[in-house]
Amino acid sequence: MSPLLDITSLDVDFGGEAAVRDVNLTLDRGEVLGLVGESGSGKSVTALSVLGLLPRNATARGSIRLDGTELLGAGERALTRIRGDRAAMVFQDPLSAFTPVHRIGDQIAEAVRAHRDIGREQARTRAVELLDLVGIPEPALRAKAFPHEFSGGMRQRAMIAMAMAGEPDLILADEPTTALDVTIQAQILDVLRTAQRETGAAVLLVSHDLGVIAGTADRVAVMRDGRIVEQGTAAEVFHRPREPYTRQLLAAVPRIDAPREPRPPTGGTVLKVRGLTRTFPVLKGTVVKRRTGTVYAVDGVDLDVRRGETLALVGESGSGKSTTLFELLELAAPEGGTVELFGQRLGSLTPAEAKALRRRVQIVFQDPMASLDPRMPVGDIIAEPLRTQGADRAAVARRVPELLTQVGLDPAHADRFPHQFSGGQRQRVGIARALSVAPELLVLDEPVSALDVSVQAGVLDLLRRLKEELGLAYLFVSHDLSVVRNIADRVSVVYLGRTVEAGPVDEVFARPRHPYTQALLSAVPLPDPERERERQRSRILLAGDPPSPTRRYDGCRFRTRCPLYVQLTVDEQKRCAHDVPGFEQDGAACHFPRARTVL
């Protein structure tokens, strides 16, 4: 039998520059092919060229056959017939893939009607069925919602429902979970597998995440610089990679189950946070602003960082991680709770004391492009904290080349501008800037999440080395538990603005006690096909999305999604509903903590 999708010697150029070179891929019916690579490797371009969705300045050569029909060079009308009907696409950002002014249900119904000759009512019923199939609660009601009323995860589900509407033979998923949190990612991958089972479609799954690929794909193709460097079954590629690049890539992925050496004991407390709260008003009206509600962004965060130690602050988006950091760095009195930095309590500092504290605490931001002034040469950027602390010209001139060398950059590049560096190098500049005043505590806000895995590994190595050389303490904010495992000594998990569990990394990862921590850990995909598939069967899938932070919750705020809560007796449930579980240092904020191994 001929393959469903047959791509032979595909070349794609963008205005003369090669994006894809000599790509050969085949995909059989019902098969899932994972296309993996780092940014700029041409994986998305390959997927887009199947549906003829390349931008105008792109030229494609070669052949793409879907079930024997040549797609490359086919007319717009022929392609339109194929799109949705034979092949459907799931995009990375589902918000831009839906029309904002039409209801979700209508949009899916429209897709149904485009491919099948049925009435308006029937199409609408079918849309509700599809929404139900992808696990959207109360589908009939939600079908009447507009795209902006859906959360990211819900939108991605709806997107998959829409892709299923035409009962396609081929689903192209371009980084379908990249913008989502790990627990939501686990839900969506599950839905994607359901969709594939229901429609019997073949799936081309494009992702940079080897864990996602390992758990879903039957066969894997690895791309680099527009070429496919290795192709084979998932087991072959992950366990017996032939190409050095694949081996390198696999080695660079931080693994949540990686063994780690124990760290030496640590020194005195550097940062102590107790019961930190921060709220933002929700305002309405243009001329006269009325307060119509409150966002409880941070609502009870406890942190302890000791000298020479890395504390990872872990949570999903919207859990208040970044707000916590910014509250600390303002060095102003917190809205609620206490913050002690180097034994000094925030809120009672004189300007001179605050300035001295600023030297001891520095920050590295997530997006290295946004956090470096595009109009400043790198030398000046690095020198800025020094100058602020009143260093003289000679000291600055001596220190800047030193710092550049320390973070592995060429000191001769000090007069270059940020845009002349790559992503990883820019993050090194950000680190050099933070180090310039010899701080004792470095706050890292998702420092590697914008970087490709191989670059990420380099930056993590640098951070580890610097910590040992300079005896730094890190407050490391991340949503990526594998990275946390890799670099942190202790971990603190926040859910909806509140600390739910904290402790040494080995302890928490091996025996998580809070059900949320368990779910988080279990949702992290492993780049290992067999173990990942086995884990999928026992995976703790959280229902729904995190609830809105605009209201305050009585009792335990996790109980609406808690897998443990539903197993409790009525009396026990009452306790969860009324008492806020207390949090002690190195404990879990749960009334019924049960350690459970999930890794």
Binding site: L329, A354, S371, D373, T405, P411, H419
Partner: protein, 296 residues
Amino acid sequence: MTTATRPAPAAAPTGRSALVLRRFLRNGSALTGAVVLVLLFLLAFLGPYLTPWSYSHIDYGALRSAPGPDHWWGTNRIGQDVFAQTVRGLQKSLIIGLLVAVLATGLASLVGACAGYFGGWTDRLLMFCVDLLLVFPSFLVIAIVSPRLRSGGWFAFVALLTVFAWMITARVVRSMTLSLKEREFVRAARYMGVGPFRIIWRHVLPNVASFLVIDATIQVGGAVMSETALSYFGFGVQPPDVSLGTLIASGTGAAITYPWMFFFAAGLLVVFVLAVNLVGDGLRDALDPTAEGAAR
């Protein structure tokens, strides 16, 4: 990426101002513009010493005479030497044009950046002033005030022109600052303990520099023109004193019949504005590291 092990060179890294200067000097057309500007200044301030005629002297023996060895650029209707008048006018216009542009853009960037950066009451107060000045009939105010400022000389006039020339720029700078303020590098500077005015100076203004430079170059031409308009109505530069604007205004009628009365003044104004634009473009490219064609 590996750690460089070779010893760090002792040379200090080049700072931003040095880099900008270097990039500016490498830009051929910008350099041309700067040289032309310098030549114009030389002409304006050394010109009066080159000719025996003064700008107000009337040579009754040569009315409307064409350029010649006696009067290099000819004479006007009443026998004044056009060369002497033009260089005198150039003096006035160069100073008024450049000063008004620099002062107005400076004021606009200061007010706009402060309003945007500090927000709250500072913003409301400053924007109130801006709106107030915008609704004031500027021409009327200048007309009323300028006779009293005559003793203050040309600088008072410059100040007056400036006061009514900066508001729209300030509003634009404010809105640009509002979006810059949320950028991470500004936040980073704040967490490093950099003071607010230093942040405005080092981070906000360089990032709106492209707009400011273009705005200033347009202001130069605008200032010369509004000075002309005011002079025409009897405010500002008054006879027997002249500016390029008044010369052009009085020479317009004679542009076809006695071209020298018009074209020398008009030509110098065009050259002046063109040079300023070249310098402005060069400055913008020098300040913008991503600009095409302006390699390091």
